[in-house]
Subunit: 247 residues, 4 copies
């Protein structure tokens, strides 16, 4: 059992950088429920010294596609290269998505597609470019689907090289059926969802686990470079993989 005195001192994570991408369908300056919950996570991170840069994807002219820069593939404009530069310079990525019909938004899929577009790039260990970074997800809706959206998004991040710390999702939905969304004003002057102990706890754990993992990975110089270099593999290194034909 722990007691209050056993709570460790708050770590100082002032060297860490995070990028938040909000995949709401609602352009600024309109209110985004998803952003409202992302702001909780952001506040915790900033309080710990981590710098946070936020993008609302629908505000930017991000082309659809699976290349790092779609202006080289027939599109006149593409805001992704600027956003991806921030992602590449950061330790932490948090994707936020609303839920539509139980699944992530089209904006969320577009961001995943554009991140995936970099899967051919490698770091100086020959690992996929996102190795050494850590990622999480924030999901809001009025009804159902937080876990489904989280599993799809976290899997995508892991697939391209992100480390996923424990409990890397936070979300809010109301009771089943249509209803108000996170952050909507209530008649009593409060805000919908702000009283959810569950959502507050998950947002807190998400924020801290991302920072802990990012710090740990930075201290270790990323994921060790043995057994996972795409470049070395392509050059023939097999890292003692058993020769299966002769087993």
């Amino acid at each position: 059992m722990t007691d209050e005195t056993a709570v460790p001192k708050q770590p100082d994570y002032s060297g860490l950088k995070a990028v938040f991408i909000n995949c709401t369908l609602t352009p600024s300056p309109a209110f985004s429920h998803t952003e409202c919950l992302m702001d909780m996570v952001r506040a915790i991170m900033e309080d710990a010294g981590t710098s946070v840069q936020c993008f609302r994807s629908v505000d930017h002219d991000i082309a659809p596609g699976i290349y790092p820069d779609m202006t080289k593939h027939g599109f006149d404009h593409d805001s992704w290269p600027a956003i991806s530069e921030a992602v590449m310079a950061s330790d932490i990525l948090v994707i936020g998505t609303p839920i539509w019909l139980g699944d992530v938004s089209s904006e969320c899929r577009k961001i995943i597609e554009r991140l995936y577009a970099h899967s051919g790039e490698t770091n100086d260990k020959g690992q996929y470019i996102f190795y050494g970074k850590t990622g999480g997800v924030v999901v809001t809706g009025n009804e159902d689907g937080v876990k489904h959206c989280a599993m799809s998004t976290l899997y995508s991040l892991g697939h391209i090289g992100y480390t996923i710390p424990p409990q890397a999702d936070a979300g809010w939905i109301g009771p089943i059926g249509p209803g108000p969304s996170y952050g909507d004003e209530k008649d009593d002057g409060g805000r919908v969802g702000f009283d959810s102990d569950f959502t507050q706890r998950n947002a807190t754990f998400l924020a801290w686990n991302l920072m802990h993992m990012a710090h740990m990975l930075n201290q270790a110089g990323g994921i060790p470079g043995y057994g996972n270099s795409r470049e070395a593999w392509d050059d023939g290194t097999r890292y003692n993989h058993p020769n299966p034909e002769y087993r």
Copy 2:
């Protein structure tokens, strides 16, 4: 760019312990395609010094349910407590599942349910009991669904406290439609799927990333205990979560 000489020395991970749970529907001693691929991952881990203990769930009398020991809830037998003891004592958990209708096996869901049954237990930091451990997944089928099975299983592991390293899944499927499964003997004496560079690479990366992450977490004494203690949260500690009512 890397070159052959730049491949780092193979780490010695002789202190690590892994548990593999194979969720095939086929009881021993019959051949399990999923186990065949899990054995590749196991061989890499054992070669690095990690000890690996394997269970085929369907061979054991594991009760359905959501409590750690179902003999206390009306079942005459339950093999889970013995298996869970091994899981608790290990650093790494690898779940293997065949694909049926594009999704994980019933045995896989049963294992997930029984792991989830421990979500009320905490470690000496007050974190969920699986914090500090790392997990991955192996998936085989003859047709389609590796990623879907992986995202569901990895999400479940992350939800209960496991850290998911990059590219924490390996799998094999054949071309679309019914066909042979991983490890089936071919007319030419070879084995189906053994020639898949993609599967070999993913199995290798999976094995090494799990060991790297387990080692890193062990070195760090697990996930730092700030901001993620279920016990401290329940005692009222809020870790600087913003008081949302006053924002």
Copy 3:
């Protein structure tokens, strides 16, 4: 616009047969929240004259596996053949599942696997054996995942030959986070979830749409037997599929 007088007369569906399979993890006689909601759907069907036969899968000794009768594949007992006989004799199948970690129960996957085991059987038109039947799903949990469970289960039913009518799912979850489940007694003497207009509506629409579709399919003698006979396809019939090599 409709008005009260425009509500059509209730159809008489006394010739229809339905099978309900409840995939709770809780054996009888303990209360099943999922069954509690399935009973709403059943009451509507029975009121319309449809006969309903119910199974709670965990009460039966159903072997894991992918064959119609696992006693022919090494298992001592298997209750599935008796249940599958009822399924084969019915027009409607309703699967009920609780939600665990955002996904269906292991019992639900086991039932899907056993249904899939019949995918090699065909009716007298050469179609898969479940053609001409119609299916739906009921999902309950205390937190999140109705749609995810529904999409997986309905897809499986459709894949093996069931027709899925509109809005073929009904479910209930509470607000995000742990909490009471459907049908739990409340302090005021009521039952949790019984006041959900959304759940009541979906349960009603599910019941009626299944009966309408079953009746329509019965009237039509099932799905017409052109373009979908597995037997005829295997015999070489191509139903004017374009010869793609020469397009």
Copy 4:
């Protein structure tokens, strides 16, 4: 057993209308692998007399959002109203999507969102506007995910009112790992995937089952209007739903 002489006469479905929406990320006039497989389905339908209208969503300026016409919600342009008019006038909807990271494309999610935007509209029976229509899906990728994409898309169509006939998906993927896509030219002059008996069969069954179901629904005047009118429900009609408080 069937024999060739038992194959029924090909039905004439010349009165039916279908809309195909291809959710590739690739703008015209570039080749779309997904369209290549959709064209197989289209050819079968057109041969049976059904008229088919095709849209490639990325060629159109479809706004993100959840309203039928986003020009009334701050967007300068929105091509959706024209496309939705075609959807509303048709009996059949086929959505095609490529697979990215095991899931549907962002364009596919955008189309689902815009279809969902009409969920407040009802037909003259008070049912959701898509009642009486039938839908299916075509999926292509080079690796894995046909069933996952199909289950998500078909569920969305069912949720808004579409009837899903048996085996309402067709797809193609190659062996696991990166590789050529459906319709790519091969060295021998053939086209990738065109020799897949499985894909041909599923495309054929999909086409015919959609037409059979559309015809059956047209003959019946749609789904009968008892037990499923949103308008009547909102007016208080309960269709014999049991009064749960008194059970």
